[in-house]
């Protein structure tokens, strides 16, 4: 079942730029320039792209914050802007930089308020809250005013706030931005568990590709307001020819004319005792066997393709 649908979705902004001492020139910028995308219920989709690519703008059109300039958009079968309040009851939103919590009130009071705002039956609310408190370890700071929480604690509070009404879709805009390693881990494991249950469709934007590798089977890359890749991480590697690498430490320097069938030498250390081979069309075991047959190998390691590297190339290509 399709839960999110976008067809030729566009958002233009007019910006005024200085053109002389007093004159200002109007210029139209397409933040989102014709996106077609369908997301099925229960999917976990990572939405990535460089700064200014249109990620947040898309998310804001999906949540009813921004009115599209043209095109079709539907979430849970609803039109986000005209049916904003109806949609709000069925989605959860975590905008990393915009708090849903009451700054001056203890965390647990914010949760109690949200129950009334979203009209959640007391028993459902209590059950969901208990689960979040357990999984996100909120217990120690439930009584502390939000303004005194650390960023990591607050983000865990925001996640809980977005889930207390049992949303069908959860939108996360940079949920791990600025978090330390431990908090990042906590947030990721929580989201992984949430996604695994299959009850919630997850759409997240991020700059941290580790979020995507950990959480999302589907990856949508957007640049200049257009989708430049839509598929799994493996698809992305296949499309951009990313290869696994074999790094070997040798007992004697590598011969300058050395070749390994099905692989390419990518780097060799200055003393020629360490070499890296990109595996084009040969399996790792076959490559190792051939190497061992002709030279003495002291140590070796296999390096998986680096998604950061692929994405960097992808951004540069567009």
């Amino acid at each position: 079942m399709t839960i999110i649908e976008m067809r030729d979705l566009r958002k233009d902004f007019t910006v005024r730029v200085r053109a002389g001492r007093l004159r200002r020139a109007k210029r139209t910028v397409s933040a989102v320039d014709g996106i077609d995308l369908a997301i099925r219920a229960g999917e976990m989709v990572g939405y990535i792209g460089p700064n200014g690519a249109g990620k947040s703008t898309t998310l804001k059109m999906l949540t009813g914050v921004l009115t599209p300039s043209s095109g079709h958009v539907a979430v849970c079968g609803l039109s986000p802007v005209p049916q904003r309040t109806k949609l709000a009851l069925r989605i959860g939103v975590v905008f990393g930089q915009r708090s849903q919590l009451w700054w001056d009130l203890p965390l647990h009071e914010s949760f109690a308020l949200l129950r009334h705002i979203y009209r959640v039956p007391a028993a459902d609310h209590a059950a969901r809250l208990r689960r979040c408190v357990d999984l996100l370890d909120l217990g120690p700071f439930l009584d502390i005013p939000v303004r005194q929480l650390s960023l990591g604690q607050r983000m865990r509070g925001e996640l809980t706030a977005a889930l207390l009404h049992g949303p069908e879709v959860l939108f996360l805009d940079e949920p791990t931005i600025g978090l330390d390693v431990v908090s990042k881990q906590a947030v990721r494991s929580f989201l992984a568990e949430l996604g695994a249950s299959g009850d919630v469709t997850l759409v997240l934007t991020t700059h941290d590709l580790a979020d995507i590798e950990r959480l999302c089977r589907r990856l949508v890359v957007i640049d200049h307001g257009r989708v430049v890749h839509d598929g799994t991480i493996e698809d992305l590697h296949a499309r951009y020819g990313s290869r696994r690498s074999l790094v070997v430490d040798l007992d004697s320097p590598l011969a300058p004319d050395f070749t390994l069938p099905g692989a390419t030498v990518t780097t060799v250390s200055a003393d020629r005792y360490r070499a890296t081979f990109a595996l084009d069309s040969v399996s790792a075991s076959a490559a190792v066997a051939r190497l061992m047959a002709v030279t003495a190998v002291r140590d070796l390691s296999l390096v998986e393709p680096d998604i950061e590297d692929v994405v960097r190339r992808l951004y540069a290509a567009t």
Partner: protein, 266 residues
């Protein structure tokens, strides 16, 4: 309706947030009484110079200013802080408001309800009661209804002005204090008898924009005076109608404004 509990929760949160800074709340509460008091003192001073100004006695003028002050204080107390909208728009905090299942205007009003302005309301009402006593009013059922409806209609009218001038921020983020010139300027206009103003200024503000119907015309009807400007007696009873038109325009402006909201990058 479950929604009312949502709004109630927002109101409760605002009360608890404000009272978590107790001392500053009390100071603000008291300093706010001062500003309404000042408006009334201004009228008293003006009439100290000449006992009759523009054909109106001090007592009559106080009736006008108190009707205006009651309406304005009520509007300022309920929707006055909507002028904070420009901060919400500039910082993009409106995003968080828009993703909740309640009306945007309702949330903004309740999240920022200026409780510190509460005492102003009391002051305006007190002066109104005094003004009703010092003027010789021939009470009829119609005039009783009028004296109750006028501050309410005034509140709706000023509320509409507040919402419209705040909406400027959707198109023009740096709208700054331009909106205030309509809200506070409008209040000042309604505090005095309309014949004091002349020419096109009177035509535009009193009749074009409707400020003349908020306090001046109802006061004439209460006093049983004929309008020196020449409007028929029925004009005294038009304030609810004028308020409804203003509210309708404000709602349309607000709705168009929301669709123009651009958010901010994040």
């Amino acid at each position: 309706m479950g929604e009312f509990r949502g709004y109630g929760a927002l109101l409760g949160a605002q009360i608890r947030s404000v009272t978590s800074y107790r001392a500053s709340f009390v100071v603000e509460l008291l300093s706010n009484v001062g500003s309404t008091g000042l408006d009334i003192v201004t009228v008293l001073v003006l009439f100290q110079a000449g006992r009759v100004v523009g054909g109106f006695t001090l007592a009559e003028a106080v009736l006008i200013v108190s009707l205006s002050a009651c309406g304005f204080a009520m509007a300022d107390f309920t929707v006055g802080n909507i002028d904070q909208l420009k901060t919400y728009v500039r910082t993009g905090r409106l995003d968080a408001v828009l993703v909740r299942p309640l009306s945007t205007l309702g949330q903004l009003v309740l999240m920022d309800l200026p409780l510190r302005k509460g005492l102003r309301l009391l002051l305006g009402a007190t002066v109104l009661v005094l003004a009703l006593r010092v003027n010789h009013i021939g009470w009829t059922p119609g005039r009783v209804v009028l004296v109750l409806v006028t501050p309410l209609a005034g509140a709706v009218f000023f509320g509409a002005i507040f919402v419209m001038s705040a909406s400027l921020a959707f198109w023009w983020v740096e709208s700054g204090e331009i909106g205030s010139s309509f809200t506070y300027g409008g209040r000042d206009f309604t505090s005095y008898p309309v014949p004091l103003y002349g020419g096109w200024f009177r035509a535009v503000f009193a009749y074009g924009l409707g400020f003349g119907f908020v306090a001046y015309q109802p006061a004439l009807a209460l006093l049983g005076r004929t309008d020196p400007v020449g409007l028929p007696p029925v004009a005294g009873y038009l304030s609810p109608l004028v308020a409804l038109v203003a509210a309708g325009v404000a709602a349309a402006v607000w709705r168009t404004g929301i669709r123009h909201y651009r958010s901010t990058g994040s």
